[in-house]
């Protein structure tokens, strides 16, 4: 039973990271109907930026570990958001009226570019985060010892997701984003500046992805320039699992996928860990293509 609950909390922590990345995919897919292949690499860049900023400013030593990490996270999110907007501007906006397949190739090109840029700057080897950031203590939760970092990652993700959910559901800008996702032309007729909405989506999504990158760095201690691909594909699976384009769906899908993967690798086979997500994906598409929370999308006639 102990093992089971450990895997459960582990799965929830990993799943919350998937959920944060999945939000970026699902929001972009919502407004552009495009799989943003570069998103996984923005996540990687978040992890690397976090490492660089940690090393160069050592904020956790000057203003205390907790505030230091919060400020660090905000810096990473801001920088990755700007990068996301640049990617949108250069690789996606010129292709908005083009055939979908051309945009897919452009997205793949952007992904290859970013991935190799990271490799050229930081090298191909695994990079290690500074070790003593978060004390390696375990918290006693009803007799279950859970590492502090796991709880922090889960809590931080939940806070970010709650903030995003409130923003999307309660504010005027959030309403505009939802409207643009449903019908771009109608949204435009209602006076919504769709181009700005898309830009906004490309700021929010990468910001959350960057934060997820930082969390991976803090939790696992080591990062690699290719990790964006694995995390990205799993996060996209999570987005489909929850229903693509659906924001609460991405959160639910991420957490669920994290738990399924943790359980699968613990009780079935660790060697197949990376394949589990894709089995789930195929199963979902055969049984319920719209995802768990997705609404039925009628094909246009």
């Amino acid at each position: 039973m102990e093992e089971f609950f450990q895997q459960l909390t582990n799965g929830l922590a990993v799943g919350s990271i998937y959920a944060l990345i999945a939000l970026g995919y699902t929001m972009v897919y919502g407004v552009l109907k495009l799989i943003n292949f570069a998103h996984g690499d923005l996540f990687t860049i978040g992890a690397y930026l976090g490492m660089t900023l940690l090393a160069s400013f050592a904020l956790h030593e000057t203003i205390g570990p907790f505030i230091g990490l919060v400020v660090l996270a905000l810096m990473v999110m801001g920088l990755v958001a700007i990068l996301g907007a640049i990617v949108e501007r250069t690789a996606y906006r010129p292709l908005r009226e083009s055939p979908r397949l051309s945009a897919v190739v452009s997205a793949l090109g952007a992904s290859i570019f970013l991935q190799n840029a990271v490799m050229l700057i930081y090298g191909a080897r695994f990079q290690v985060y500074p070790e003593d950031l978060i004390p390696e203590t375990a918290i006693d939760l009803f007799g279950l010892y859970v590492p502090l970092v796991r709880i922090l990652v889960l809590a931080a993700s939940l806070v970010l997701m709650a903030a995003l959910y409130t923003f999307i559901q309660k504010t005027r800008i959030g309403t505009a984003i939802r409207a643009a996702a449903i019908d771009q032309d109608a949204a435009r007729l209602m006076g919504i500046d769709v181009t700005r909405v898309i830009l906004l989506v490309f700021l929010i999504g990468p910001a959350l992805g960057g934060a997820a990158g930082l969390m991976v760095g803090l939790q696992y201690g080591q990062i690699n320039f290719t990790m964006g691909w694995t995390y990205g594909m799993k996060a996209f699976t999570a987005a489909i699992l929850g229903g693509i384009g659906n924001i609460p769906g991405a959160m639910l899908g991420g957490l669920l996928l994290g738990v399924i993967e943790a359980m699968g690798s613990a009780y079935i086979s660790i060697a197949w860990k990376d394949a589990i997500a894709f089995f789930v994906l195929i199963l979902i598409l055969i049984v319920r293509p719209t995802g768990l929370l997705g609404e039925r999308v009628a094909e246009k006639v």
Binding site: Y29, K33, I35, T90, A91, P94, L95, S98, P99, R100, L101, S102, A103, V104, V105, S106, L108, G109, A110, S111, I112, F113, L114, Q115, N116, A117, M119, L120, W229, M233, F236, T237, I240, I244, A271, W272, D274, A275, A277, F278, F279, L281, I282, L285, I286, P289, V297, E299, V301
Partner: protein, 319 residues
Amino acid sequence: MKNKSMYIYGVIFAVLAVAPTFLNPYWVDVLNNVGLYAILGLSLNLIVGHAGLFNLGHAAFFAVGAYTAAILNTQFAIPVLWLLPVCALTAGLFAGIIARPIIHLRGDYLCIVTIGVGEILRIALTNDLFGITGGPNGIFGISRPTVFGYVIRRPHEFYYLIGAFLMVTIFLFHRLENSRFGRAVNYLREDETAAEGSGINTSHYKLAVFVLGAAWAGMAGDIFAAKMTIIAPESFNFWESVVMFAIVILGGSGSIPGVLLGAVLFVGLPEVFRDFADARMLIFGAAMVVMMIVRTEGILPQRPRTYALPEARNAGGAP
């Protein structure tokens, strides 16, 4: 116009036919790779270019063919060229099983499933599925192909084998393009609802074209296995599929000359820029973005079909 392009193709063909006599083995081998990717590109072109189905996991079908050839050749010593139809069968069957339940879904779902299948297959091969795939090291000791007792071994011998296979592929796919099948598939790419309304069984055609493209990639896998004599799961990763996909879209989807040009650009040119070494992939990625923005339809896009009007009606009609 038509004559001029025929003339250009004739010259290119003549130069390529004698190319091994003045190129060193290294460059002949580069051309072999170009040829192999051209075959893969053409097979993917049926799926992506003609039918408009997103397939970002074509390397999986290539892998199924290569592993079929490798296993049957090393276990039962069946000559590799005899295995061509078997490889086509296994790859086609594999594609059919995957595509059957999802072919009717929206495009992106197929895209993500093909990526997923490619990854699952690669992981399965690495984990030594059924104990016959050799794990991460792959399978080695695949025998060389023989044609009428003549063993094909050196790059320039492979050059003519791959060249012949490519010529057959071009000829057959050209015929297919202009057949009832080709027109039906193009129609459903342009407007699926209208195609369905005109009595085209769209999911049947989608499935057929998917299986056909995959089967062809399986045969290319057979040639690949014979050429390399050793195959490993890493030869069939996601980025291989991306290269094949980019060859089709950048070259000009739906157009045979476009795909051939795409293969030259994507496989041949990086060899020219070997000096950049590390930055090669960076340039590759940037080039994909820039090319797509500059030439959205690809370099040599498919031209709309033209039909000559019968002489008599033309003369009598217009004033």
